[in-house]
């Protein structure tokens, strides 16, 4: 199941690096972190930030700084809110994208953030549905 998330992440990185200005890498990192909550996700955020800066000719390290700070801030909310829920994913995707696009001086910031939150929500629903079915199938098999 981690492979599915990592494949989504790799695809998002490629799309954002080459084709689109939508911050889909950030969305993929948010979903990865909320589903797995492992330390290696921070290294992934750091490395993908450097790659994105290379692809887009930004100052190297700028995107990594944002990704690392944002993911850490998300974890701080773990005590206050239930973070593995659709509303949290949608809201964090929206505000994360909004801040990222404002820092990168993109245009159509609101619409891109809105689209990112929709993509984040859909991806979260799809993965959660798949995960439930997979766990159900495994428990049925064990019986």
């Amino acid at each position: 199941m981690t492979i599915i998330l990592l494949t989504f992440f790799a695809l998002a990185l490629l799309l954002e690096g080459m084709i689109t200005t939508l911050p889909v890498t950030l969305i993929a990192l948010i979903i990865l972190l909320l589903q797995k909550r492992e330390y290696w996700i921070f290294f992934l955020a750091f490395g993908s930030g450097l790659l994105l800066d290379l692809f887009t000719l930004q100052s190297l390290g700028l995107t990594s700084i944002f990704f690392v700070i944002f993911l850490f801030a998300l974890l701080l909310y773990e005590r206050k809110y239930e973070i593995q829920t659709l509303p949290f994913v949608v809201v964090s995707s929206f505000f994360g994208s909004l801040m990222y696009l404002l820092i990168m001086r993109s245009d159509m910031v609101f619409w891109q953030s809105f689209m990112s939150s929709v993509i984040g929500g859909v991806a979260f629903i799809l993965y959660s549905t798949y995960r439930k079915r997979h766990l159900k199938a495994r428990s049925t098999f064990r019986r």
Partner: protein, 260 residues
């Protein structure tokens, strides 16, 4: 799941590593490292850009667009020749740029909000500082303006398109009405045109020429676009016109940089 202390340590170490990389990357010492990294990702960029341009070319008819561009270019050249002959000008202000001064470059990146639907604000080309590129150099296709080099690294450059212009002096080909090309929302506007100047839909807008002593900046006579509508109020001091560029970048793979 790791403990909170480990998260804090990890966060601070990665954060400070990113800060260090950000600071070091601006120094000359880091250029070979960046150059090597860009060299390793350039095949991927070329393949993706090539596949994207194929899909855009297959999706629509290019022959009419190409013909329209060529006709626009020919009309401009004929009108220029006619003006020079009639006015007996001494200087050739609107001649095309000499081919010897043009450096061809491949477009390796064109990121947009919705690929294939919305237009790019900028493009990435595969020429950089090692090819002699500098910030401010003009990028064209035939004799039409694409934009200016905004950022240069060792092997790649980012070109800010004319549609993102924040104030380029221009004039109409027929009536020499002077104005400023600016971005307003999603449209390109030829504004600050004095009310007494005569402009009309279909007029071709060209660059006036704003090169500095080092040769950087728009040379005169390059086509920016065509006027499609005019906003003229008798009570206002100036009039403005919406301009459309003849270039559809999603279908282009090669641009040319004017080397001073």
């Amino acid at each position: 799941m790791p403990r909170k202390n480990q998260y804090f340590f990890l966060f601070f170490s990665l954060f400070f590593s990113a800060i260090v990389i950000l600071l070091v990357s601006t120094t000359a010492f880091f250029r070979p490292v960046r150059s090597l990294a860009e060299l390793s990702i350039s095949p991927l960029q070329h393949v993706t850009s090539f596949l994207f341009s194929i899909s855009q070319t297959a999706a629509s008819s290019t022959s009419l667009v190409e013909e329209n561009r060529k006709l626009l270019s020919q009309i401009t050249k004929l009108k220029e020749t006619e003006k020079e002959y009639q006015a007996l000008k001494k200087q050739f202000q609107n001649t095309p740029v000499s081919p010897a001064k043009l450096l061809p470059a491949q477009i390796v990146g064109r990121r947009t909000f919705v690929p294939g639907v919305s237009e790019s604000r900028e493009i990435l080309i595969n020429k950089g500082a090692k090819d002699g590129l500098k910030k401010g150099m003009v990028v064209i296709i035939e004799d039409m303006v694409v934009g200016k080099v905004a950022t240069v690294s060792e092997r790649m450059s980012r070109v800010s398109l004319i549609t993102q212009s924040t104030g380029t002096t221009a004039k109409t080909l027929d009536t020499n009405a002077l104005g400023v090309i600016q971005k307003q929302g999603d449209t390109l506007v030829f504004g600050n045109v004095v009310l007494s100047e005569k402009i009309s839909p279909g007029d071709i807008v060209i660059t006036v020429g704003e090169q500095d002593e080092s040769g950087l900046g728009y040379p005169p006579g390059l086509i920016i676009g065509k006027i499609i509508s005019i906003d003229k109020k008798p009570s206002a001091l100036f009039q403005a016109a919406e301009v459309t560029s003849p270039i559809i970048l999603s279908r282009e793979t090669t641009v040319f940089v004017i080397m001073p």
